[in-house]
């Protein structure tokens, strides 16, 4: 996912938990855009205020997205935390502050991919006596339930692009053009990727029975 993906009006609201708030200088509105930060001198304090305000509005939605991708609350929080730190570090170089949410979401998705890759590596190295690298927390397992965990585990076995297409389509309820814009691929590719991903997910779930 490109860091400078288009931030369409609909795209700005795709995150669950993004509630918006009273619009004040430096605080993000519902669309994730930032008031009073488009032009003018930008200092560390301004960046800190703006990034913190964006975090307050969108952190929960991004953690939810990350927990679907990773299945681990701690990892999801870490990924989102790191994404916002990345935004803070890059703040001065972000020409269009209205794209801050897109940027941080891309960072979070990249972080989820890295986390899953790290787990696969660890699994390959793991010995019989070690705790599986993708072990979910007991709290998460209890809250989500066996049936749902099977589905989510199968989802995480899909290739990254397929996994993200499914989450965008069936969790975030994005349309095909929106998914195409977010993933930086054509609408036709979205359609075929989603279709293949659903079929693959169905096969994985059958295999697990």
């Amino acid at each position: 996912v490109k860091a400078d993906i288009p931030n369409t009006a609909k795209d700005r609201e795709l995150l669950p938990g993004g509630t918006g708030s009273q619009r004040t200088a430096g605080a993000p509105d519902r669309a994730g855009t930032l008031a009073g930060t488009g032009t003018g001198p930008i200092g560390v304090a301004d960046a800190r205020t703006a990034v913190t305000a964006l975090y307050q509005v969108h952190a929960v939605g991004l953690i939810r997205l990350a927990i679907i991708m990773t299945g681990d609350r701690q990892a999801a929080e870490d990924v989102v935390q790191e994404a916002f730190c990345g935004l803070f570090r890059r703040w001065a170089h972000l020409a269009d502050k209205d794209k801050a949410l897109s940027y941080v979401r891309s960072c979070a998705l990249n972080g989820c991919r890295s986390e899953l890759r790290r787990r696969i590596r660890n699994e390959r190295r793991a010995t019989r006596d070690t705790v599986p690298a993708d072990a979910e927390s007991a709290e998460y397992a209890a809250l989500v339930g066996e049936e749902h965990r099977e589905v989510l585990a199968a989802l995480r076995r899909l290739p990254g692009r397929q996994r993200e297409a499914l989450v965008f389509r069936f969790y975030l309820d994005l349309s095909e053009p929106e998914i195409a814009a977010t993933m930086g691929i054509s609408q036709g590719t979205v359609k075929s990727t989603t279709s293949r991903a659903l079929a693959a997910l169905g096969r994985l779930l059958e295999e697990d029975r």
Binding site: G17, G43, Y55, A76, Q81, F84, R89, A92, E147
Partner: protein
């Protein structure tokens, strides 16, 4: 959940539901970004570098002054005695409204009148995001309930029948309690700002809001993952009340009947007597005796249907005064019951309302989250939503922050976010019956 799509959707919602609103940890940013801050400009504006140093110096001065002011202000605040319910600041208000689910579904109009439709609003602003009318032949929605995600709801719909009363003032229609209730799943898409209504295969229960001497729907509750619907049915004595839990996907159901004295829900009003824990298995329901004692019991919905008393265990008990006992909620981890506890004193006529946390294990009171006293009879006070720890609630209460020992004369009531002593009214949130609003 038959299709892979449905299973995936439900699983994603269940996983997302484990992250409660307002539960994000604090953000820890590095002291300094990796690179020096300045005014980013297009490459051809080479002159900006000349201003970088002065601007940085100015920003530093401003930051130091701002920090000094903040420290001064903080010192002053610490020097003052604590004010438990001071005026709410704009940031505090915004933070409170951001700590609850972003959308709520409510029925519009005044109950008792026909053709209530559902409106989905933003919690933070009250703005309407989507609106849904009952599909024909249903004339009105009667109850709503929400899943743990922020966008899945269930609505109960019912028919109306004309009533020739001969009086202009009387309603020309009434709820058709002979017809049965139909349930619909509403899924809201925040991106498209559309709400999609799907008829559920859940068997239609007896229709009608509970009315004296009639069977009625006392409340519904959608499980956190949206896969089960719990339905409380109130029946005229001596028929026993019951609770049914139905699969949203298939309509298969289990029913537990309350054998013995006492009530489930409240036959005088339509409030929400049911609340799910996050495990999707434990259902808290309110059960009481007469107009004195109310309590919460926990039902294991994985057990086969049958006797509601033997399939459940008592979790807490309390006294109440007034016409109804109010909504209760169980915290998602199942550890606490949060209930409105009301007491009434006749001479002089005074009421005390307390939002109280009970341990679901021991039944003992853990904490009083809100405390109001006012002249007159106790009114309704309800818990509509709780975060995982019970520290943030959505309540119906007097429209004023918990007032300590001050007696309030006829306070207005509002749907608000209660965090500590801070009460933040939710813009445009209103519900005549508590079964008519859900997060």
């Amino acid at each position: 959940m038959n299709t892979t799509e449905d299973r995936l959707r439900a699983a994603a919602l269940a996983a997302a539901g484990t992250v409660a609103p307002g539960s994000a940890p604090p953000l820890h940013l590095p002291d300094q970004p990796a690179r020096r801050f300045g005014v980013p400009g297009p490459p051809h504006r080479r002159g900006w570098r000349r201003w970088a140093a002065p601007l940085a110096a100015a920003a530093s001065v401003i930051a130091v002054v701002a920090a000094s002011l903040a420290i001064t202000s903080g010192g002053g605040a610490r020097a003052r005695p604590p004010v438990p319910s001071g005026p709410e600041t704009a940031p505090a208000r915004a933070a409170a409204l951001a700590s609850v689910p972003p959308y709520y579904l409510t029925l519009t109009g005044y109950s008792g009148q026909p053709h209530l439709h559902a409106v989905l609003r933003a919690s933070a602003t009250g703005s309407v995001l989507a609106s849904v009318t009952p599909p024909r032949p249903y004339g009105t929605f009667t109850h709503v309930s929400g899943a743990a995600d922020d966008r899945t709801f269930v609505l109960a719909a019912q028919r109306w029948v004309p009533v020739p009363t001969g009086k202009k003032s009387a309603a020309a229609q009434r709820l058709d309690n002979a017809a049965r209730t139909k349930f619909f799943l509403l899924r809201f898409s925040p991106t498209a700002r559309t709400a999609r209504l799907t008829a559920l295969p859940v068997p239609m229960e007896p229709g009608g809001l509970p009315q004296e001497g009639l069977t009625g729907l006392a409340g519904i509750a959608l499980s956190p993952d949206g896969s089960k619907l719990a339905i409380a049915i109130d029946r005229p004595a001596p028929l026993p009340p019951e609770i049914t839990v139905a699969s949203v996907a298939t309509g298969s159901e289990r029913t537990w009947v309350w054998q013995g004295k006492g009530w489930i829900g409240d036959h005088m009003d339509s409030f929400q007597p049911l609340s799910w824990a996050a495990d999707g298995r434990t259902l808290a329901f309110q059960q009481g005796h007469g107009f004195v004692t109310a309590g919460a019991r926990l039902l294991d919905t994985d057990l086969p249907g049958g006797n509601l008393r033997s399939s459940s265990r008592p979790a807490a008990q309390w006294h109440f005064a007034g016409d109804n006992a109010g909504n209760i909620a169980i915290t998602p981890d199942g550890s606490k019951i949060i209930a409105p506890v009301t007491t009434f004193q006749r001479h002089p006529s005074r009421s005390v309302l307390q939002i109280t946390e009970f341990s679901a294990t021991t039944g003992k009171m853990v904490r009083v989250a809100g405390h109001w006293q006012y002249a007159g009879t106790a009114g309704g006070q309800d818990i509509l939503w709780t975060n995982p720890s019970g520290s943030t609630l959505i309540v119906i209460s007097p429209d004023i922050s918990p007032a300590g020992h001050r007696y309030l004369p006829n306070p207005p009531w509002a749907v608000s976010v209660l965090t500590g002593d801070q009460l933040t009214p939710l813009p445009r949130a209103n519900a005549h019956y508590t079964g008519e609003i859900a997060w």
